[in-house]
Symmetry: C2
Subunit: 303 residues, 2 copies
């Protein structure tokens, strides 16, 4: 049995000296001209291009960060070919030594949830390198929906990030509703996630059942951190979505651990800004990745 | 511009004389022996079998019900081949004159949500018959996550069912939390869904933005019905999950309209019980479908 996801992630962060996660959200129209070429005729060709681009980004960041996040939403418009390109990109990232989070945000119950877990967290088992090391899921249906993923993670040494507090403005419509006892809905979800992760705590002190948490509000961030002492936070919204250093800093524990911070578009599309003829698109991505890592270092001075 | 989903669904219900929806959750190990044959070697062959089974079920129920639900969770373990089998099954159901709900329960925000909507609700446009007429989505992220689907539905004459109250036991962990003003979380979600559907109300009086709602509690069912007067309820849990006639009846409006009721395993695996040598598996499915329709008729006597 391999080590659990939380411990492998913590080791990766230590080795790379950064908790930066690069998110790959490939959009056909934004791919580098050198990749795209002329007209794009069909789904298979489009999916091949997404795969090439994803692999190019992976090559550019593999020696810089411990982990990437692949968002399957951007592969699904190309149906079967797209989904195969997603799994092949997961495999390639593993070949390059990266940990991979599959951003799938699935949710269902019972048999259906178990089938999603089989598809995205088990595959052909712990050795299947085309399956990500962790996936994101939505906990609105409670433990019935979450348990199949938690069990799959436990059986394969993989992990789960449950959506707790998302980075969008309208997150508050449900997540900030005030409960009878004056807590917010997110606080209850956070308490559930901490409970669901109890049996998955590794030697690092963190659980392989973590949380997607990107509170814009400092007070909420601190509250969530205290409610999930064993949860690793996947913090989206750095870069293009504009989270501040202070907001992100509050997601770490007192030792400056327990979170990874994701940037997607600000890194992977860096070549769109100030492209020059003597810099390849991958060099631009690598430079943006380095800038992202540098920006994150200042967070730890704020913890 | 085609008619909206809600109106097409209401016409289908009228034409067939039933609001029964057959859910297709194909599991390889449960397929009829006559289909399965011997060992199943690879993902492509497995996906082909799921597609054959789904088409067989579609043939068995096409003249009986107005609408089916295809759950993509059961296709995804077979990756690209599985997803292509799902879309081909959607296409075939349309060829047989059925409306199709894609049970995908996706959730994300902004660009990601738009990409899911493009994949599952737009495809190549309103004429793309391999795209379902409506999909299920998860509203935990608020309107930012929902809007791309609502817009896609509006632009293509398709529809959306937002998860409001799911049929599982642990649904209560989040959905039944009591808010400061004594309402439950589901009541707020129901109010949001009603608001999100206001611009999609058709001549039938119903909106193409509906709700997955399967309250086990009669009082909650009546409350949700009154909070979503324009919402069509997709009610799961009849049959294998064991909802009673009274519980389901409360999901309809006073005129006995405004809901479709789904049964999956109790219909599509009917051949597992009392298989006889002179009945094909499809005849068993057809008979179970007829029994389901008959059981539903008693609901309308309870409205």
């Amino acid at each position: 049995m391999a080590e659990g996801f939380a411990d492998r992630l913590m080791q990766g962060i230590e080795r790379c000296g950064t908790c930066a996660c690069v998110g790959i959200d490939p959009v056909l129209e934004r791919l580098p001209e050198s990749l795209r070429g002329g007209d794009i005729a069909d789904r298979k060709r489009s999916a091949d291009l997404l795969e090439q681009f994803s692999k190019g980004v992976i090559d550019a960041v593999a020696d810089r960060v411990p982990v990437i996040k692949l968002n399957i939403a951007f592969f699904e418009p190309f149906r079967g070919a797209g989904v195969d390109a997603y799994h092949e990109s997961v495999r390639y990232a593993h070949e390059r030594g990266l940990l991979v989070i599959g951003d799938i945000k699935r949710s269902d119950i019972g048999h259906s949830s178990a089938s999603y877990a089989a598809a995205h967290l088990i595959g052909d088992g712990a050795d299947d390198d085309s399956i990500p090391d962790a996936v994101t899921i939505n906990g609105y249906l409670g433990i019935d929906g979450v348990l199949p993923f938690v069990e799959a993670a436990s059986n394969t040494g993989r992990g789960v990030f449950v959506l707790v507090h998302t980075s969008n403005k309208s997150a508050a419509q449900l997540q900030h509703l005030t409960l009878k006892d004056d807590r917010m809905v997110v606080e209850e979800v956070a308490a559930l996630v901490e409970a669901w992760g109890q049996s998955s705590i590794g030697s690092s002190g963190f659980s392989s059942i973590g949380a997607v948490a990107a509170p814009g509000n400092l007070e909420i961030a601190r509250k969530l951190r205290s409610l999930m002492p064993h949860g690793i936070f996947l913090v989206p919204g750095f870069g293009a979505q504009g989270r501040s250093v202070e907001q992100v800093a509050a997601c770490f524990d007192e030792g400056g651990r327990g979170a990874i911070v994701n940037a997607s578009r600000s890194v992977i599309y860096a070549y769109e800004e100030g492209e020059s003829s003597d810099t390849t698109w991958q060099e631009s991505v690598a430079r943006a990745c380095d800038e992202f890592i540098t920006a994150l270092k200042s967070i730890h001075e704020n913890v």
